[in-house]
């Protein structure tokens, strides 16, 4: 057995899957070849290390998140499978039609290419719009998955993951009622100031959505963190939400209000009135 052949069999050797004859050959070669011996020892060390790596433990929520995503994906796949089966039968049938001689194969390919280019050109306009609907459809599916993941992330214990949830929500084209409700909920209930701040920014993007303006005005009275209050006041002023006037007036009356926030609220009042 030569070095080349030994190398080929080294994986099976390490896994203990060589038949007796090959095993004897490998052993005989190793006895004579110090280079191969060294190589195999190195490989063997890596092999053992791989074996003792601790398996990563996924978090508990990963399971439910995964199944949700899987469901969404499976629905998409069901539609694909119908198309795939047809495709497979078709390609098998076509294979039988292919000529044996290479010269004829080349000729056939050239003819097909010409035909393809020709019809492609003719059909280009029609196919472009078809492609667009397909892309839109795909985007819709991606949006659905994104929505599921975002809602799930917003409920995680880790504030960094909740930040990711807000960020994913902000990237949706059409957030939908569920996401808006989740973001407003986060704004009002999240224990972390940073997450609430991020929620204000995300809601800013969706201020046209019916629930948002109302939700933002109502949120103002419940906020205690000065940074969140400032951010919310700025947002309400910027979207010219006149319904915020009452909430701002009430806020200014609060004795515990941070003086900087008070100043901003008063400025906001003049801008909105």
């Amino acid at each position: 057995m030569k070095c080349e052949q030994t190398r080929e069999k080294s994986a099976d050797y390490l896994a203990g899957e060589l038949d007796e004859k090959s095993l004897a050959e490998v052993r005989a070669h190793l006895a004579d070849c110090p280079a191969c011996r060294e190589e195999l020892e190195g490989l063997s060390a890596i092999w053992t290390k791989l074996g003792v790596l601790p398996k990563e433990q996924p978090s508990a929520s990963l399971r439910s998140r995964f199944y949700e995503m899987l469901e969404a994906y499976k629905e998409g796949m069901e539609k694909e499978r119908a198309r795939l089966d047809l495709g497979r039968n078709l390609s098998r049938w076509l294979g039988r039609l292919m000529p044996r001689k290479p010269a004829y194969q080349i000729a056939l390919s050239l003819v097909l290419i010409a035909a393809g280019l020709g019809s492609g050109y003719l059909l280009s306009v029609r196919s472009r719009s078809a492609a667009r609907t397909e892309v839109a459809g795909l985007k819709g599916e991606v949006d659905d998955m994104r929505r599921i993941v975002a809602v799930s992330l917003l409920k995680q214990a880790s504030p960094s993951e909740r930040l990711m949830g807000v960020s994913w929500s902000a990237q949706l084209d059409r957030p939908g009622d569920e996401i808006i409700a989740a973001l407003l909920d986060t704004l009002n209930q999240d224990p972390n100031v940073n997450v609430r701040l991020a929620a204000v920014d995300a809601l800013y993007l969706f201020y046209n959505h019916p629930e948002v303006k109302d939700g933002l005005v109502r949120s103002l009275s419940g906020q205690t963190s000065p940074l969140v209050q400032l951010s919310l006041i700025d947002l309400l002023v910027e979207i010219r939400e006149r319904r915020a006037v009452e909430a701002l007036e009430r806020l200014i009356q609060d004795h515990d209000l941070n003086p900087k926030v008070k100043k901003r609220a008063e400025m906001g009042l003049t801008q909105l009135s």
Binding site: N192, N194, L197, A198, Y204, L205, P226, N258
Partner: protein, 302 residues
């Protein structure tokens, strides 16, 4: 499995009659807690109202907690009971006044014995250790040693010493009201906020894909990132300045609102969101930095 380790000590200091000195030694508690599953990274949550929290990573598997209770700050009222009584005589109602006078009479010639319930509780459940201090009269300085991979959630209000963390690789969530937040040799992700304190974080490396956020109402934010970090910065500050020695590629803020009502007889208005977006090394980990007055410093690790 639920493991509850409860430490509630009542310490009674007895002073010999001859001791005139009122100096008290601060009392120290010591506890070693292990995680239900030491092979998996654990989490330590600390919530105290007055005091400071110091956390250090070390090579062991257990969490070692040392609590040092500070001397009780005697209020004026206790130092000069009678003078105070006289002052406040008009404010307290007669009954209350009479009762306090009677008590002062009974205590004449004696020294007060400090009876303090330490009020520190430590609980562990499913790899999460919770340390809480009752809102009592004494502030506590906690020094906690944790395994490197531990995640932390630390909350400390009303105190100027704040929170310090060194050599911890897990996720760190911190909030303080007065004290500073100082993190060194951490790898994140970090979510920190402080009302009055400053925030300082020095990253040894940065965990990719996990967003971070820092916000400070009055203080500065000063973070140091590794040279090769890939980060997307989102910075908002009302009156502060932003400084960096990184090569930051500023990208236009997408948050621009345009209103054109000129066709309907209205006006034209464009509003830009006061946010600064910048990419370091092409962008990557989202880092949000928000201050009101404080400056923001984004430094390269030397």
């Amino acid at each position: 499995m639920k493991t509850i380790v409860r430490l509630a000590g009542i310490i009674i200091l007895l002073w010999a009659a001859g001791m005139a000195d009122n100096a008290q030694e601060s009392q120290a508690d010591h506890a070693v807690v292990n995680f239900s599953n030491p092979a998996k990274p654990g989490k330590v949550e600390v919530d105290i109202s007055e005091g400071s929290i110091t956390v250090r990573g070390y090579e062991g598997k257990d969490v070692i907690i040392d609590a040092r209770w500070r001397e009780r700050v005697l209020t004026e009222k206790e130092q000069e009971p009678e003078a105070a009584l006289a002052e406040k005589g008009e404010e307290l109602d007669q009954e209350e006044l009479a009762r306090k006078k009677a008590q002062a009479e009974k205590a004449k010639g004696m020294k007060m014995i400090e009876v303090e319930s330490m009020g520190l509780t430590i609980e562990e459940e499913e790899n999460v250790i919770q340390v809480n201090a009752e809102e009592g009269k004494r502030a506590v300085d906690l020094v906690i040693q944790v395994p490197f991979s531990t995640s932390l959630r630390l909350s400390c209000r009303d105190d100027e010493r704040g929170v310090t963390v060194d050599r911890v690789d897990g996720e760190i969530e911190v909030d303080t009201s007065d004290g500073p937040i100082i993190l060194t040799n951490v790898s994140g992700p970090v979510v920190a906020d402080s009302s009055d304190g400053e925030i300082k974080a020095v990253f040894g490396k940065v965990t990719p894909g996990k967003p971070m956020s820092f916000s400070a109402m009055d203080g500065d934010i000063d973070i140091t990132l590794p040279l090769d970090v890939k980060a997307s910065l989102k910075i908002k500050t009302d009156e502060g300045q932003i400084y960096t020695d990184f090569d930051v590629r500023l990208t236009p803020s997408q948050q621009k609102k345009e209103e054109d009502e000129r066709k309907e007889g209205g006006g034209y208005r464009v509003a830009f969101e006061k946010v600064t977006l910048g990419l370091i090394n092409g962008g990557g980990v989202e880092i949000q930095l928000t201050t009101y007055e404080g400056n923001i410093y984004v430094r390269k690790a030397k």
